[in-house]
């Protein structure tokens, strides 16, 4: 069973920030920006530990179909994106079809159906951050990392820490009260490994 290559469907991925380049059917980002890597990155082969973890997750639920979301998180933490191959794996583990898994996963904004680098920087621009500098922070970071293949900057809805606005998350770790400069410093520290980052789905890799 095969899936439509991500990026090609009629519906653009919901995590695409405004102004990001259009995607052509080969999955390559067009235009001058190289922010998205080609979609031909094959997922790494699964380790014994990974397979054991999959079994453990599926066994938690009375119905294996419930394991789709947790397994998608696991695959994304390991591969840095949710590939068609990973969705087929999930389908097998959950006794369903790859199309079903694709349909479910495309509903949720956290699942990136294209490679998005090692770091997902989520900047809140919802109402409290709106009046306290969120949109400006988003524009700054988006511009700064537009060509960085490691860093994907996205605009997100309320992250539930409005007392620390303006706010961003790097791989789902909170950083509040940030300025343009301190936000950049934090991202750089994650890039260089001074700070330990979670997986791109907010969990731990189970390679």
């Amino acid at each position: 069973m095969t899936l439509t290559p991500p990026g090609t469907p009629t519906e653009p991925p919901r995590d695409t920030p405004p102004g990001s380049p259009p995607i052509d059917p080969s999955g390559q980002a067009t235009g001058s920006s190289t922010r998205l890597a080609p979609t031909t990155v094959a997922p790494s082969p699964r380790s014994e530990r990974y397979r054991a973890r999959v079994q453990e997750i599926v066994a938690q639920y009375p119905n294996p179909h419930s394991a789709i979301l947790p397994l998608a998180h696991l695959a994304q933490d390991t591969d840095n994106w949710l590939s068609p191959e990973a969705m087929e794996e999930i389908a097998d583990a959950c006794h369903t079809t790859a199309a079903d898994v694709f349909g479910v996963c495309s509903f949720y904004t956290m699942f990136k159906q294209r490679p998005c680098g090692r770091l997902v920087v989520s900047v809140c621009t919802n109402v409290t951050c709106l009046v306290l500098g969120g949109p400006e922070l988003y524009e700054h970071l988006e511009h700064r990392y537009a060509t960085d293949p490691d860093v994907f900057v996205e605009e997100v809805e309320c992250l539930a820490a409005c007392d620390r606005a303006p706010l961003m998350q790097v791989n789902y770790d909170y950083h509040g009260h940030v300025t343009h400069e301190s936000a950049e410093t934090i991202v750089e520290e994650y890039k260089s490994g001074v700070r330990a980052a979670r997986g791109v789905s907010g969990g731990k890799s189970e390679l």
Partner: protein, 481 residues
């Protein structure tokens, strides 16, 4: 306001200067307000947030929680082995669900069909309403209180399986709750034959993946079943047909943490807190242009003036208040008027008098420099993005609201735009200005941005008209021009 149950006599609201010092309840509460520091702490009534505030460093660890008396209530419940006792205490306390709908918790339990098995308990920790961040405090700071609450409630409803559905973006909260479940299991508070009682309980921590609509209980159930989180048509209610078609109770995190405290201090003592039929305390998340934004545990019955000017320290930079959202993003706004500021924080009173609700327990405050159109646009954008697409009025309507509000808030408004907004809104929520809202959709997401439109119409119509009459856009677009 329904009056089928006799309301306790109205009590003096605990506003005024007097710190919530009341006739000290018989014994239990180490939880009475601790005067630790400035004026703010004195006015808080810390019951469910006490452990988090007293031990901010390690309140989430099993050692600290056990040293602080966690799971004592759970032991007592198992020792007495009396389901009715749990039920009666919660019923006496008058506890109403803290997720936003304010439905009495004990009444929900009573609707469970007696002989259908298995049945499931689902904890809604998918906190996604803009500017609501109270549950995260408990999830990250006091997961053992949540788990103790889950145990007690599962025991009451005889469920052997509980799911904690945590919002995907709250990675730290998911880590801490997962760890807490593992620790509780290793100490024997969760698992099979708990503390020799013969009662089994398995708790599964399930992470969402970024969809606001999964905070709606039937959307959450769909998502938990591994589907797109689209709300179901009700009836049947989840209490009858829920996860995997089985009876399911869905409760908010704060509700469960409160149940533990109710069992500890007795329902009657808890019912002494609060006003009228709004008993107890609530976590209130205050954000926006205030000096001290944050989560505060407040006894119900304070006024908004106390909350904004006292608890949250007033408006930033000495500016004036322009408007505030009293209950999260989905309900009508209030403005800087004495009758709005002096409104008590009382679930029934505010809807009877002002046609809005306390919703999810968030208060958003905006100063005089804020453009209400920008706020309305951003809310509409949020709802448009988060609409699941199941019902046409919401899928199409929220998008149109967003587009029209975008041009209005970005200097491209047209003179008849406000009327266009009202017209679109009427398709989603007939009788636009009415509160509580009517709806043409399955769930209340569609009508939520309509509250913002109604608020613009009610309080800011002259300002909106001025913004849309700057003359830089033609009134009508000639289709064949």
């Amino acid at each position: 306001m329904s009056d089928e149950t006799p309301a306790p006599p109205p009590r003096q609201s605990p506003s005024g200067r007097e710190p919530a010092a009341r006739e000290a309840p018989a014994q239990p509460t180490r939880s009475m307000p601790q005067a630790s520091g400035g004026g703010v702490e004195v006015r808080e009534t810390r019951i469910i947030s006490r452990r988090v505030r007293e031990f901010p460093e390690d309140s989430y660890t099993i050692d600290r929680a056990l040293a602080d008396g966690a799971y004592d209530t759970w032991r007592e419940v198992l020792r007495r082995a009396d389901v009715q006792w749990v039920h009666d205490e919660v019923k006496t306390s008058g506890l109403r669900g803290r997720g936003g709908a304010n439905f009495p918790t004990a009444v929900k339990w009573e609707s469970l069909q007696p002989d259908v098995w298995p049945r499931y308990l689902v904890i809604n920790a998918d906190e996604g309403e803009p500017s609501t961040f109270k549950d995260r405090l408990l999830l990250e700071g006091d997961p053992h209180a949540l788990i103790e609450g889950v145990c007690i409630e599962a025991y009451r409803m005889s469920s052997n399986k509980a799911f904690i559905y945590i919002r995907g973006e709250m990675a730290l909260a998911a880590d801490r709750v997962t760890q807490a479940v593992a620790d509780a299991r290793s100490k024997g508070f969760v698992g099979t034959n708990i503390l020799g009682s013969g009662f089994d309980l398995d708790i599964v921590v399930h992470r969402g993946a970024g969809a606001y609509i999964c905070g709606e209980e039937s959307g959450l159930i769909e998502s938990l079943e591994g589907k797109r989180g689209m709300p179901r048509i009700k009836p049947p209610l989840p209490i009858h047909v829920g996860v995997y078609g089985k009876p399911t109770v869905v409760n908010n995190v704060e509700t469960l943490c409160t149940i533990v405290q109710i069992m500890q201090m007795s329902g009657a003592e808890y019912a002494k807190l609060g006003v009228n039929r709004s008993t107890g305390t609530r976590l209130v998340a205050i954000s926006g242009h205030v000096e001290k934004p944050g989560v505060y545990e407040l006894e119900l019955g304070m006024t908004f003036r106390d909350i904004i000017y006292d608890i949250a320290g007033g408006i930033r930079g000495g500016k004036k208040l322009k408007f505030f959202l009293p209950g999260g993003a989905s309900f009508q706004w209030l403005i800087d008027k004495p009758e709005h500021l002096d409104q008590t924080y009382d679930i029934d009173d505010i809807s009877a008098k002002l046609g809005t609700t306390l919703g999810s327990g968030a208060v958003m405050v905006y100063d005089e420099d804020t453009d209400p159109l920008m706020v309305a646009w951003r809310l509409a954008k949020f709802y448009s993005h988060e609409s699941c697409g199941k019902c046409t009025p919401c899928r199409e309507g929220t998008g149109w609201l967003e587009k029209v509000l975008y041009r209005m808030s970005h200097g491209q408004g047209r003179p008849d735009d406000m009327d266009a907004l009202l017209d679109i809104s009427a398709g989603i929520s007939p009788d636009v200005m009415r509160a509580p809202f009517t709806q043409t959709t399955i769930c209340p997401l569609g009508p939520s941005p309509v509250s913002a439109v109604a608020s613009l119409q009610k309080w800011f119509r002259p300002e909106v008209d001025a913004a849309c009459n700057r003359g830089n856009v033609r009134t009508r677009i000639e289709v064949n021009a």
